[in-house]
């Protein structure tokens, strides 16, 4: 095994190391991983919810103030 590794140049070793690191990270993040587009859609929905909540709060206060 060691002899085999010695035959590899540093570029190949780096590529292997990168592959191993990437695979581990992918495995770890895959547990609860979601598509960035889905996360973006959720954040946009929350931005709308923030505006809606602010508008609703003002509407409640306006209704109370006018009553």
């Amino acid at each position: 095994m060691t002899d085999f590794l010695k035959t590899l140049d540093s570029t190949t070793l780096i590529k292997w190391a990168a592959f191993v690191v990437k695979s581990v990270v992918d495995l770890l993040s895959a547990r609860e991983g979601r598509d960035p587009a889905a996360i973006e859609a959720d954040i946009r929905a929350e931005l709308k919810a923030i505006d809606d909540a602010e508008a609703a709060a003002h509407a409640r206060e306006d209704a109370l103030a006018d009553s």
Binding site: I14, V21, D26, S29, I39, I43, I50, D51, A57, E61
Partner: protein
């Protein structure tokens, strides 16, 4: 060897950046929860202050003025917090969009969102909105 080590370090940093969507997802959920807690708290507080202000009728006494001032302050504070939450979500969106196009700035934007979040959390804790 030194060159190999630094290249590996760079790759590790890039690999860490790969978890950004998951980090953004978790941060988004935390911000959403804090925003919902703040909304419930402030809605009750502001409406209560407004009711007390209205009960006073024409504002003449110092107590009526205090209740009405409390409502105005509450309304302004709530608006400021809504803007804060919106800014945090927009910062997270920036992080995500930079990540999608493969820009290094993604991590910077994410860290900026976390700083904003810590600051607003402290603010909410100081005002007794969050424990």
């Amino acid at each position: 060897m030194k060159r190999v080590s630094s290249t590996l370090a760079c790759l590790l940093i890039l690999a860490a950046c790969d978890t950004l969507p998951q980090n953004v997802d978790v941060a988004h959920k935390a911000i959403k929860s804090a925003r919902q807690a703040m909304t419930i708290h402030m809605d009750d507080k502001c409406l209560d202050a407004l009711k007390k202000c209205k009960e006073g009728g024409i504002v003449t006494s110092a107590a009526d003025k205090k209740n009405c001032d409390a409502w105005v302050t509450c309304d302004e504070q709530r608006h400021a917090w809504y803007k804060g939450f919106k800014a945090m979500q927009l910062t997270l969106l920036h992080a995500l969009s930079f990540y999608v196009v493969g820009e290094d700035e993604a991590k910077t934007w994410y860290e900026r969102a976390i700083l904003q979040f810590r600051s607003i959390l402290n603010d909410l804790k100081q005002h007794g909105v969050l424990p």
